[in-house]
Assembly symmetry: C2
Homo-oligomer: 258 residues x 2
């Protein structure tokens, strides 16, 4: 008896417009995702997701374009284990269990809340587990807000770093901003950071307080939404001409020392 | 008399499959790009491009799905100035001239050879010029091979750096690999590098020679093509089980110290 052929782990991108559109609005998924990706998503029976509720909402948008092979209620949708801060080495979640459909021969889709799974989002540990089990990992083409923001910034696209969130505490945040600006100057590298939307204005203020006037600062707010905008300017120009920021729309901040 | 309303600079993603498919094959553009992006591309009359020949091939693929508003021969297609190595501060190319259609009120599309313009590709200087002239910059959603490779690697998607190409000279390359591995260990940051395809195998060999056995190395080769693959393993495991690499297919290399 032969071992069953393994299924694959498909990393399925989702639109960047999550949470930006109001209820009742129904933006066209085909503005955001290739039809080929929508087709592959519609064919899957097994999902591992960051959040089951938003994954179902995504799959309803898929179904409106390419009917799901299996009805939504009959799909297997399992959530990634949530990892509380500071518990990094506490209990190893049962990732192999989440991958059981693939070891039994079925493809599995992985989705996060918005954009690419496992990039600035959970999922990397599951991807590592898949590689360990010999399950092929396939990243389907889709947008990441980080790289759209970088492209729109005009900063160095040949050398850049994403460092996630800055500290919330004011002095630690100021020190980190100066540290990243120094690193940026040393190796001419664009530095990308994100923040939870309700702290957008606070982070922008801190960046304008602590970066040097000649440093170039770029902000993209609401990427993927019609109301989204990108601005790239020196810190001195941002100070002269302040900009309001929505506190409920995701933003990406990038800067590079002169 | 009012000043004319400015056009926008649209950063138009292109498929990652450039150069992977043989002549005669005609992969479906809708496997790679959202229909909304294809529609916006089809509506543009003015283009600034990395390479006019491949831009025309791309626009033919667009036209097959959404007919171009203006026939291909009647489009304005201008190439970005090529910047020879070592001439960084030589002559400032006339980027404002390339943006003249936007100052006259027309949208301009910017495309590179594959993926997102201005990310690991030319275009950033044009984007900066657009911001300086008050021209809105809009990054349309599309994939970057860098972040697909990162997602498929299972390495740290919360902190990563892309540093472009490594030195070609053997000793300088070895030193740079060790330097990046040390940086990766210090801040738990995934490091991404690329190479011209015909040196893929050489770079893989150098990484296996100079990285520590416990460092995790991920390679994605031919992302976006049906024959593409991603492998993520410790350096020790790569050494035990070597892998051939095509010398004509783009690859992304990522590693992270243990």
């Amino acid at each position: 008896m032969n071992a069953p052929k393994l299924g694959r782990l498909l990393l399925v991108p989702t639109p960047l417009d999550f949470g930006i559109h109001g209820a009742g609005e129904s933006p066209d998924l085909q503005d955001h995702l290739p039809l080929g990706v929508i087709r592959q998503a519609a064919a899957l029976d097994h999902w591992v997701v960051e959040n089951a509720k938003t994954a179902r909402a995504f799959l309803k948008r898929v179904d409106a374009i390419v009917p799901l092979a299996t009805p939504l209620q009959a799909l297997t949708i399992r959530e990634l284990p949530r990892q509380a801060k500071g518990t990094k080495n506490a209990t190893l979640p049962d990732l192999d269990g989440l991958l059981a459909p693939a070891t039994a021969g079925h493809d599995i889709g992985l989705v996060s809340e918005a954009g690419l799974p496992a990039v600035a989002d959970p999922g990397a540990a599951l991807v590592q587990a898949a590689h360990r089990l010999g399950i092929a990992v396939v990243a389907l083409p889709g947008a990441s807000s980080l790289l759209l923001a970088l492209a729109a910034s005009g900063l160095n696209g040949q050398s850049f770093a994403f460092v996630g969130y800055l500290p919330i505490e004011e002095q630690a945040r100021a020190a980190r901003i100066r540290e990243l600006e120094a690193a940026s100057r040393r190796v001419a590298q664009a530095q990308l950071v994100i923040e939870t939307p309700y702290r957008n204005a606070t982070l922008l203020g801190a960046l304008l307080d602590h970066l040097q006037p000649a440093t170039r600062l770029a902000v993209s707010n609401g990427l993927g939404a019609p109301t989204g905008w990108s601005r790239s300017d020196t810190v001195a120009a941002w100070r002269r001409q302040p900009q309001a920021m929505a506190n409920d729309v995701p933003a990406v901040f990038a800067f590079q020392a002169d």
